[in-house]
Symmetry: C3
Subunit: 158 residues, 3 copies
Amino acid sequence: MNAPTDLAARLRVLEDIEAIRRLKARYFLACDRKDVAGMRDCFLPGEVHIDYGVVGTFDRREQLIEVFERLACHAHVVEMHHGANPVIDVTDDDHAHGSWALHYQQIDTRGRKLTQLGGTYEDEYRKEDGAWRISRTRFVAGSTLVLDLARLETQEAK
Amino acid sequence: MNAPTDLAARLRVLEDIEAIRRLKARYFLACDRKDVAGMRDCFLPGEVHIDYGVVGTFDRREQLIEVFERLACHAHVVEMHHGANPVIDVTDDDHAHGSWALHYQQIDTRGRKLTQLGGTYEDEYRKEDGAWRISRTRFVAGSTLVLDLARLETQEAK
Amino acid sequence: MNAPTDLAARLRVLEDIEAIRRLKARYFLACDRKDVAGMRDCFLPGEVHIDYGVVGTFDRREQLIEVFERLACHAHVVEMHHGANPVIDVTDDDHAHGSWALHYQQIDTRGRKLTQLGGTYEDEYRKEDGAWRISRTRFVAGSTLVLDLARLETQEAK
C-alpha cells in the first residue's frame, strides 16, 4: 500500500483528474474569450465525436471551430460557459471519461435577447504525447430559456 | 517528510477531498436528472441530519427521497443544481466537513414561473465501507427570486 | 520517477493547487457572507495589486475592505459570487497564478434591481508562512445585465 510504486500509481490518478478538470476549464474559458486556437487545442487532432445537439455533430475539431467562428465569434454575441459538478473517472493511463453540468448564457446585444441553457456533458478523454484532450463529447440540454431583454433592462446589456 | 508513510497520509487526504467533491457533484447531477437511486446513494443509510429549510428536515434519506419525488420528479419541473466554491476539511480517516455555494434554478413550464435560489451548504461526511457519504447537511438560502416567465419569454421555456 | 523525493514534489504541486482552489472558494464565500475578516485574510498583508475595474484599484487589502463595507455590506445588497473554470499553475514553491470565471449576481432588494456580471479573474498567489494568499488579481467583466425586478417578480426577491 505504501510502496513507492503504489503511491506513484495513486498520485498519477489524482494528477490525471486534475489535468482533465483543467482541460475542460480551459475549453470553457476559450469559449467565453472566443479564443479559437485555445478551443481547437482542447480536442484530439484526429477523429473525434462531438455531438452538440442542435448546434451540430462533428468528427473533426476543425468542423466545430468553423461553426464556433460563424455562430459565436461576433462582438454582439456575449457568452458565459460555466462548468459545474465534474465527475471524472480515469479508466487507464490514457483513457478517462467524465460528466459535467453546464450553465450557459448568451446575451445578443444586437437582438437584445438573453438565452440560457442548462445541461450536461458526457465526455471521453484520451492522453496522447503527454496531454489529455477531449476525444468524444455529447451535450444534452436540460433547460432552455429565451428572454426578451428589451422588456427587462434598466440599461442596455453589454 | 518524504518517508513513504508520510507521503501515503498526505496522498490520502487529497484522495478524500477528491472523493467528497465528486460525491457532492454526483448528488447535484442526480438532482438535475431526477435520478432517485443516485440521490439516495449519496447519503448514509442509517441516521442522517438533513436540514433543507422550507423544504423540510429529515433524519432518514428515504424521507428526503419521498419529498424529492413529490415536489421535483415531474416533467414540468426543470431544475439546475450547480455547486460552487467548495471548502472541504478532512478531520480524520472517516470524517470530514465542507461548505458549498449553490446556484439553483427551477423552471416550472406549466406555471411559467422561474425560481432561483442562491445559498450555502454546511455538510458533514462520513466514510463507511470505503465510500464517503453525506451524514449531515444544512442548506441556508441567501437569495430568492421568483419571476413570471409569461411576461418575459420570446419563446416558451422547456 | 518513483523515488520518494520525486513523489513528494509531485504531491506538493497537487496540494498547492488544492490550497489555491480552496483559497479562492473561501474568498467567494466570504464575499457572499459579508465576512469582512474572512475576505481580508485571503490577501497578502503587505503590498498587493487588486484591479477590480469600475469598483477600483487597490494596493492594500484594507482599501478593498473599505470599499466592500461601503458598497456591499448592507442588508438590501444580496450577492452571489460563484467561481468556475479554474486553471491554476504552480510556478515554484511559493508562487502560482491562475484564471477563474465568475458568475456574479446582485439583488438590490430596496431598488428592486438585479445586476449580473460574467467575467474572468487573472490572479497571482504567493505562499508566506505556510499559507497561500492572493498577491495580485484583476477582474475583467465580459458581460453585464441590469434588470428591473419590479416588472418581473411574482413575489418580492429577498
